[in-house]
Every structure is written in structure tokens, then in C-alpha cells.
Symmetry: C2
Subunit: 372 residues, 2 copies
DNA sequence: TTGAAAGCGGTACCAT
DNA sequence: ATGGTACCGCTTTCAA
């Protein structure tokens, strides 16, 4: 019987001896070391330390013991000892929203590919909550904190958030923002402006000349950018300002509905295409048109932005701009890991032409639409 | 100056400043204690220990110091010291899938309400990956591990997964499964069977008598349950078996499309309503009908299951059964926290009647449909 | 190579 | 109430 009880003072086994265990306690590295007949340090090196400097024989011994005991290293203990974790923290506004869940998917993809685990929190579209979460997350000492939210002008909590994140960064953390440029941190943004511009150019090429543009409140940057981008594209294609009508409404489906109804009521005139700055709004537009007896895609064309799944399910399928949110998510992780203090990274968007905007002059089918 | 620092950064890093500026290294509880002029122990009690047994004056001192220094407790250190974390681990098949993102939303809701943070991982619909993740997650010692996946008969990894989870549970962890009954752990399931049955009854009441049922492979439990539930409902409402046609296909949109086309090709006969076991399939069905020159909702009724967002965007809006996945998620956390070794918890579903199944005999609008 | 031991940032028991 | 201190489980010098 080897007398190598190196544990704390007492000669008794550290674990309970005979009493019934209320809590089994999980296998520790020390257990593995003992089982393998090596020291704690060696066991640690064998299981982690890259196995460098451990005699092959011992290496095998330790690995065997670990497997036999079902040992899993305690991540928290590793983190305290090393001073760094293997996690990336994510703050989104709402997981159930396809926009954010796509981003989250991209982030988990990239994170897992790098051996990181994602801790996800939901800010519920509240800047204050976002701040609280950032603070709490700091306690977990993640390698990266990614915040994907629709920044709204709220300078009050904004400064606090910046301070919080700055403090996190000061201790070695990396912050990456998604779609909320203007803050002093590396940012990944979707190229809304350019996407909208390309859509406009494509529509003009398809033969449309007179437009109604339905957008949301200007303080929502996403909406503003898409709106501006679209008009820029029209102008660049030679469409005059007096051939465009601009309507401002809520950034929701019913906002789109109401705007389209208003449009119909005051007379569509010779408008050929209605562009709504989000697919959701565009779907509201379609509904309103139908309710007014107009058939979208036949009587009047409609286009949206985002390429949500409904966009291709709707009839006629909606022409829109696909936003690679998943890529935006992965890119955020990449950016965080790379340490670059890069300028805003722009994620390109893609125009998808579908049945809601048939090629105006010709009578053929839509020329580009990939899926229906 | 006490020379006991052998850390990497050399002794140059001052442990405390004389005035009020934060340090480059992150603030520790010891820093706060020193700043407040109390012991580590007291600081710990003041900041956590429930403030019981700390003189109000010191309590304030410590809290002030903490705030001044921007102290945030190190979650990993707390976890190692306490032996338990404040996290719930979630394994989903695919975050981007609305089904799972809804579940995830419910879980984060409930978790955050209980002061827990969620670590989310994606199994990518692979049972093997699910197993690996479960193992890795165990290392984080979460309070609960929730697995939301579509269990498929894969007894190979299944046993390994059970072993892994059992080991986790043996050390005090809680396991909760969502929608994959049959495993020896607390489970939350959606009441597919009953929902389908209610849908059938509702449709019969609405006047439909002859049905086609399109379902997926029987090994997908969800599909099977819905299929069975529907036929049970029909039978209970007095619909004879020879008034039903059953078609088996893939559990996808194109599966629905193909099945409906086949149906049309071999003659719809006097079929009045097509029920597809998922909305996605139902949308495929609608497309196929249209392609065959039939107008869904007018020439023939269509119903689905899930109430995905497209269901209400499609025209005509799809009659379906809403599945409260978000509630299923919250319920899972509740179940995990409660410690009940409950029988499977069933989450009830709700029938939503919309335009795709107009009340057959009468000519009025749909009687129940809440939203359009 | 290997083991002993000093932490990492906290918690909690034990005297005082 | 408060401070001293023995851990928690693991990493990483430092000597041997």
C-alpha cells in the first residue's frame, strides 16, 4: 500500500470515507493522476499542455485513466488558473427574430470552429438591458463580446455602454459590434446602402421607371441606409426625382400595409414599383394591394429587403436583397480573434429577382430568380 | 514593497493607485477590499453573502469601492470556489431554424429570469456532434443541460449520449430534453398528437369530409404523431377510412410539392382538404396545386402544422396548428430548476383557422382566424 | 521528464 | 461583525 497521500494535513481521504454521499462529486484531475500513478502536474501536461515533455508511456497511462474515469476538465477551474476562457459572449436583441438567429448561427459556427463556446444573452431591444448584460458578461471574461443589436440613438446609456466595453477591452477583451457603426469598436456591417443601390439599378434595367419608396423612421439606420441607397441607385440610373414618391411609416408589417393603403387611396398614378425597405413591410404592402383589388406582380411590382424565408414563400415570390447575416456573424468572430482594429467590415448583399417584379416590357418570366 | 510577485508582467504593475484610476489588469475582489479598507472576507460578504452580518457602514464602503473601481466578480473563480455555476447549457440542432430559435428564445427568457446565463451550442442535426457537445458542456458544469433536437433512431450514439448525460446527472447536474421522449430524462414535449386531432375535428366541423394526408417518414416521431393524431380526430368525428388518402413523402417542402403533384396527377377525386404535417410541406403543396392550375383555398383546402411565420404571410393564409415552442423552452428551464423527475410535460397546441380552409358550406369568412 | 508548490479569484469556516 | 486561512480544480514555474 503506497503511502503517498499528499493531500491537506489530515491523513484521511479527501473524499468522504464511509458515510453515504449526498453528492457524488465529479472526477478531478487529481483523481486521474492518482489512478494513473503520476503527479497532478504530469496529468495536467498529458491532458492539456500539448503532451509535450511527457513520456509516451505516461501519456498513455494518463489518457487511459481519464477515459476510464470519464474525466472532463472543469472549464471554470481552467479559466481561473489560466486567466482566460474559451468563450465568446453574444448579445442579441431577440433570438426568435430570424435576423438575429441568423447572426447567432454564424457566430456559433465560427466559434465552434475555433473551439470556443458561445454564451448568448437577449437584450430584448432595450439599450439599458444591453448595458446590464454587457456588464454581467464581463464577469465571465469571454475572449470576445459580440453585440448584435439595432443601435438607436440613446446617448444616455450609449456612453455607459461604451465605458463598460472600454473597461472590458482595457483588460484584454475584444469587442465586436454588428450593424451598429459609429461606436469606437471593430464593427461588421451589412452593406445596406450598396444593396439597395444595386436593387434600384436592377429594377431600372428591368424597365421600371416610376417608383414609390416606403421606409421606416430615419433614426433606424438600417432603414435610412436602404432608403438612401435606393434613391442613389435610381438617380445613378437616370431616374428623375419627380418619378419617385417617398413614404415614411413604421418599420413593421402594418407600417407597410398602411403606407400602401394610403398610396392606393390617394391614387397610385403611374407608379410601377413599390420598394419597401424590409421584406416584412413589403409583405404588408402586398396584402394592402390585394385588399384594394390589385394583384402584386401583375398590376404593380413590389420589392423588399432581407430575403427572409417568407419572401420566397409568398405568391408572387418577392424580389429582394439577400443579406448574408450568417456570414456577418462568422466575420465578427473572425475579426474578434484576429485582433485587427479594422475599419468597419462590410458584408456584401445580393439582389434576388423574383416574380413580384416581372421584367416589365418583355412578357417572359423573371430572368434571374434562383429559387421559387 | 512586498516582493512576492513572480508573474509575467514583473512587479511593475502596481496593485493599487493612490487616487482613483483603474488598473490595466482587471479589478479583483482583493483590490476592492484594500480600497475599502476591509478584509477580503468582508468584501466577499458585502458583495455577495447577502450582506448579512456586515456592518452597514462597511457594506457601503465596499460597495462604493467596487463601483469606483468598476469591479465585476469573476464568474469562473466564483464557480470554482462554489463548485457550481450560474449557467444553463443548450444544445440545438440549428439556431437559424425558426423552430429551434423559438425554443432558444424561451430558454434564454426563463434562464435570465432566474439569473442564469445560457451557453448555446449547435449540433447541426448530427447525433454524434450532439454527443460531443454534451461531453464538452459537461466541463462547464452548468446547472442544467437542455437538449432540443429531433431525436432519430440511432441507437449507436444514443446509448453513449445517455451514458454521458447520466454521468453528468450523477454529479448533481440536471438534464432536460425537448421533443425527444423515450430517453430516461425529464422531457418537455409538444402535444403534436392532440393538436392534429383538434385540427381534424375542427375541419370536420367546418364541413370537410374527404381528406388527403401528407406525412413524412414514420421514423420521425413528430411526423408520425401528427399523422396519427389527425386520423384519430377524423375517426372520432365520424369520417370513414375510405374518405382518407394517405401519402408518405419527405419531411420537406419539396416532399410536399411532389406529393401534391402526384395527387393531382392521379386525380384528386372528391378530396376537399389536404393536410400536410408541417407548414413547410403545406407550402410546397400549395405551390404544386397552383402549378397544376388549382387555387388553394378555393378549389381545394390546405392545412399545415407549426404556424411558422410564412404560414400567415402566404396567400391564402394557411390554416395550421400553432406550437408554443417558446413556452416549451421556458418550461424546460423551469423543469430543470424545479428538480421534479416529472413525467413528460406536454405543451398544448392551438388550432388557427385561416383562409386556406374557408368554411366549406357557408360562404362567410373564416370563423376563428385571429391574425392575417 | 517529473513532482512540489505557488498561485488564479473567490468562498466559507473558524476563531476572535 | 471581522479577519485569517484553508480550500476549489487546474496551470505553470522551479528544482530536482
Amino acid at each position: 500500500m503506497s503511502a503517498l497521500d499528499s493531500r491537506s494535513g489530515s491523513g484521511a481521504t479527501p473524499r468522504r470515507t464511509r458515510a453515504a454521499e449526498p453528492e457524488p462529486a465529479s472526477v478531478t484531475l487529481q483523481d486521474v493522476a492518482t489512478e494513473a500513478g503520476v503527479s497532478l502536474a504530469t496529468a495536467s501536461r498529458a491532458l492539456n499542455g500539448g503532451s509535450r515533455g511527457v513520456r509516451p508511456e505516461n501519456l498513455a497511462r494518463v489518457r487511459d485513466a481519464a477515459a476510464r474515469l470519464g474525466y472532463v476538465p472543469n472549464a471554470s477551474a481552467q479559466a481561473t488558473a489560466k486567466g482566460s476562457t474559451q468563450t465568446v459572449a453574444l448579445v442579441v436583441s431577440d433570438v426568435a427574430d430570424p435576423y438575429y438567429s441568423a447572426v447567432a448561427a454564424g457566430i456559433t459556427d465560427a466559434a465552434e470552429a475555433n473551439g470556443l463556446v458561445v454564451t448568448m444573452t437577449v437584450a430584448d431591444r432595450s439599450p439599458r438591458r444591453e448595458l446590464e448584460l454587457a456588464r454581467g458578461l464581463r464577469g465571465h471574461r469571454p475572449q470576445i463580446i459580440v453585440i448584435a443589436g439595432s443601435r438607436i440613438n440613446d446617448s444616455e446609456t450609449e456612453q455607459e455602454l461604451i465605458d463598460e466595453l472600454a473597461q472590458y477591452r482595457a483588460t484584454g477583451g475584444r469587442v465586436v459590434l454588428i450593424s451598429q457603426p459609429g461606436l469606437p469598436f471593430p464593427t461588421v456591417t451589412v452593406d445596406d446602402t450598396h444593396g439597395a443601390e444595386m436593387l434600384a439599378r436592377t429594377m431600372v434595367q428591368a424597365g421600371y421607371r416610376r417608383y414609390a419608396i416606403i421606409c421606416g423612421p430615419d433614426r433606424i439606420k438600417t432603414s435610412l441606409d436602404r432608403c438612401k441607397g435606393f434613391t442613389t441607385g435610381l438617380r445613378a440610373s437616370g431616374i428623375e426625382t419627380d418619378e419617385q414618391i417617398l413614404i415614411r411609416t413604421r418599420f413593421t408589417r402594418s407600417g407597410g400595409y398602411d403606407a400602401a393603403r394610403e398610396l392606393v387611396e390617394r391614387g397610385l398614378g403611374d407608379i410601377e414599383l413599390i420598394f419597401a425597405v424590409s421584406d416584412t413591410m413589403a409583405i404588408g404592402v402586398m396584402t394592402a394591394l390585394r385588399d384594394a383589388g390589385l394583384e402584386p406582380g401583375r398590376d404593380i411590382a413590389v420589392a423588399g429587403f432581407d430575403d427572409i424565408s417568407s419572401a420566397s414563400d409568398v405568391v408572387p415570390a418577392l424580389t429582394t436583397v439577400a443579406v448574408p447575416l450568417r456570414e456577418a456573424g462568422s466575420e465578427a468572430v473572425r475579426l474578434g480573434l484576429s485582433g485587427e482594429e479594422a475599419h468597419p467590415v462590410h458584408i456584401p448583399t445580393t439582389v434576388h429577382v423574383r416574380e413580384s417584379t416581372p421584367r416589365a416590357p418583355a412578357s417572359g418570366r423573371s430572368p434571374t430568380g434562383p429559387s421559387v
